[in-house]
């Protein structure tokens, strides 16, 4: 009898230990996948934050720039920089033939002319002198310098020629190649050239979309939640609405994209590819999330607070506005941020309303065409050039950073401002 009891007890302990083990291995698996994912993204992406520059001596010859020795500001603006730019690249190899000169030119980005121009605009006294100028290396050489380029492939399978590699190696040996923090990744809009592509357009596009989304979804959702929770009679009709709000939260986002396409663009003729349309579409998606969060936090306000206010002779409106809503705000706000974070990561609806278009300008308002961060990831991931591989990961890092900050914010609001009641 006693022995039986002991066996039973041991069995129960073993079952508990097994159960714990299952739980621990589940958590371990989850952490493992997360670590692999993050490691992969960081190891591919971190190089995108560095950019390779070639340091090339440029002779600012007034004659070649077609200006006189003491040019005005306008003259400098309008001067011809192409020839001196071309010449400084060609001068890297005195014996280069025409084809090789062409190859030398392609070692830098097509912005080289502009980079040289900026140099002299900053310091007009350079006229007639020679100065070493930092020129953005082409994306392929950038990858060569970062060690990501398969140099041992046969020449006809590479975009970088043996000649370019030879000159590049000479420059490296002379210390004329430098790697610096890639500011243009954050300040440039998208480009077909990987070395010049940046996230400024998609970042601003995301910000504008989220703001439009917030301005539409938040007031509508909060008012809907307050009405449903505090004022609406509980009957079959409101039950029906509640069920459908929950259903709405489960609708695939691409359906909202179709709605945006069919209604906002086709019927209301709002400007295509803009954060305005993107934001409205996303707000439809965020609406149910915020309503559900707001209702949950209104429900969490103890009824005793409402009773206390009502018993003091407060009207229902006063009870709601003075007590219930302020107490529910932390929960509502953190729910809103979570909803916005979801919207921030949304790609499919934005593709449908045209925010996938190639945009090489930085939007100044929600009415200007723009991309958004997740769509930018999609666009770059589709590009064949090697230089975009690291950019995809870097853009993912920026998006994830953004999301982490938002979620952190939601947590802080929830913990810091939530009132404790006895």
């Amino acid at each position: 009898m006693n022995k039986n009891k002991e066996q039973l007890l041991n069995k129960r302990y073993r079952a508990e230990r097994r159960f714990r083990l299952y739980g621990q291995s589940a958590i371990f698996m989850a952490l493992l996948f997360l670590t692999i994912f993050i490691f992969k993204i960081f190891s591919t992406g971190y190089t995108a934050f560095q950019k390779t520059w070639l340091i090339v001596p440029v002779n600012f010859d007034a004659e070649m720039m077609m200006i006189d020795q003491n040019p005005s500001k306008e003259d400098l603006q309008d001067a011809d920089y192409y020839d001196i730019a071309l010449k400084s690249m060609a001068d890297l190899d005195q014996n280069a033939n025409d084809d090789q000169k062409n190859q030398l030119k392609r070692m830098v980005s097509y912005f080289f002319e502009k980079e040289i121009k900026n140099e002299i605009l900053n310091d007009p006294s350079l006229i007639g002198k020679t100065k070493e100028v930092y020129l953005t290396a082409s994306d392929d050489l950038d990858q060569v310098f970062k060690g990501n380029y398969p140099r041992d492939l046969p020449e006809d399978q590479r975009r970088v020629s043996d000649y370019q590699l030879k000159i590049f190696d000479q420059l490296v040996a002379k210390g004329k190649v430098e790697s610096k923090f890639n500011i243009s990744f954050f300040t440039y809009a998208d480009s077909r050239e990987a070395e010049l592509a940046g996230i400024a357009s998609s970042f601003m596009g995301s910000i504008f979309s989220i703001l439009v989304c917030l301005m539409i979804a938040f007031p509508v959702a909060v008012l809907a939640a307050i009405y449903l929770e505090e004022f609406a009679p509980k009957n079959r009709f409101t039950d029906f609405i509640e069920v459908n709000i929950n259903n709405l939260a489960a609708v695939p986002s691409i359906v909202f994209g179709l709605l945006g396409l069919g209604v906002l663009l086709a019927i209301f003729h709002l400007p295509r590819s803009t954060p305005l349309v993107g934001g409205i579409t996303l707000s439809l998606m965020t609406l149910p999330t915020i309503i559900i969060a707001a209702r949950a936090s209104l429900k969490a306000v103890p009824p005793s607070i409402r009773e206390a206010a009502l018993a003091m002779g407060a009207s229902r409106m006063q009870t709601t506005m003075h007590h219930t809503v302020p107490l529910s705000m932390p929960g509502t706000l953190s729910g809103t941020i979570i909803g916005l974070a979801q919207a921030l990561g949304e790609t499919a609806p934005l593709i449908l309303i045209g925010m996938v278009a190639f945009v090489n300008t930085i939007p100044g308002s929600p009415m200007d065409p723009a991309a958004s961060l997740p769509v930018q990831i999609y666009i770059w991931a589709e590009s064949a050039e090697r230089g975009f591989v690291e950019k995809v990961s870097a853009c993912i890092m920026v998006l994830l950073g953004f999301l982490i900050i938002m979620n952190l914010f939601a947590q802080i609001i929830r913990h810091k401002f939530e009132k404790k009641w006895s």
Partner: protein, 251 residues
């Protein structure tokens, strides 16, 4: 003098009837205790008196309740005005999660009872003094009301209730969440308050009813079995059920 006159009050929760034909007179400036076993309807009756049952969708109140000869169940009765006249203290202390000052000044603010900051300060001070809480909290009026002890919180709720100078104060088991010392303080307070207010108190403790009340009503299964002066109910009840409950044979 009769302050409140309930005539044939029936209360339904959906289809379920919770109160049957309650007729009860309540004397002005006296304490009336409502006693009875759990679920007998005494709290439901109490909540009829300031129409707090309106909050419950499925609750339906029939019959007349006359306060100062005015039927509060009439359509023309404004609940906001009514609740200004009839204050309420709940079973569990429920101060607003705001400062002590804001808790007490809330009622006077929404009813526009103070013209200036000084007047409001005065109302807060007198209310807290009447609730015998002033000495304990006068230095921390701007700290949260939820930081007080249970007994202090309940006295804060009483101060809040009397801040709008109601004619009647309803108390729904105000001491059930408190320790004996806090209970004694509240009971003393009730004795003091009855000079200016008519008090109706629902209580589970028969000893408490005997200590604080002048009149007692005994509820059982939704019926008002017996009511009358407390002395009589406790010493010489007419009904055997009352007798059984008082002597602890059930309940």
């Amino acid at each position: 003098m009769i302050k409140i006159k309930a005539k044939d009050v029936d209360v339904f929760y959906g289809k379920k009837q919770a109160l049957y034909n309650i007729s009860l007179d309540i004397e002005e400036n006296q304490v009336t205790a409502l006693i009875g076993p759990s679920g007998c309807g005494k709290s439901t009756f109490l909540r009829c008196l300031n129409r707090m049952n309106d909050v419950i969708d499925i609750c339906n109140v029939k019959g007349e309740i006359l306060i100062n000869d005015f039927n509060i169940n009439d359509k023309s009765c404004d609940v906001v005005r009514l609740r200004e006249k009839i204050g309420m203290v709940f079973q569990k202390p429920n101060p607003f999660p705001k400062t002590l000052y804001e808790n007490v000044s809330y009622g006077p603010t929404i009813h526009g009872m103070a013209q200036s900051k000084q007047e409001m300060d005065e109302i807060v001070e007198t209310s807290l003094k009447k609730a015998a809480l002033w000495e304990e909290v006068k230095d921390r009026l701007h700290e949260p009301g939820t930081g007080l002890s249970g007994g202090q919180q309940q006295r804060l709720c009483i101060a809040r209730a009397i801040s709008v100078r109601p004619e009647v104060i309803l108390m729904d088991e105000p001491c059930s969440a408190l320790d004996p010392i806090a209970t004694a303080q509240i009971e003393e307070l009730i004795d003091e308050l009855k000079k200016e207010h008519t008090i109706i108190i629902v209580t589970h403790s028969m000893a408490q009813a005997a200590r604080v009340s002048q009149n007692t009503g005994f509820f059982h299964l939704g019926h008002l079995i017996e009511h009358g002066p407390t002395d009589k109910i406790f010493k010489n009840p007419d009904n055997t059920k009352t007798q059984d409950y008082i002597t602890g044979r059930f309940g």
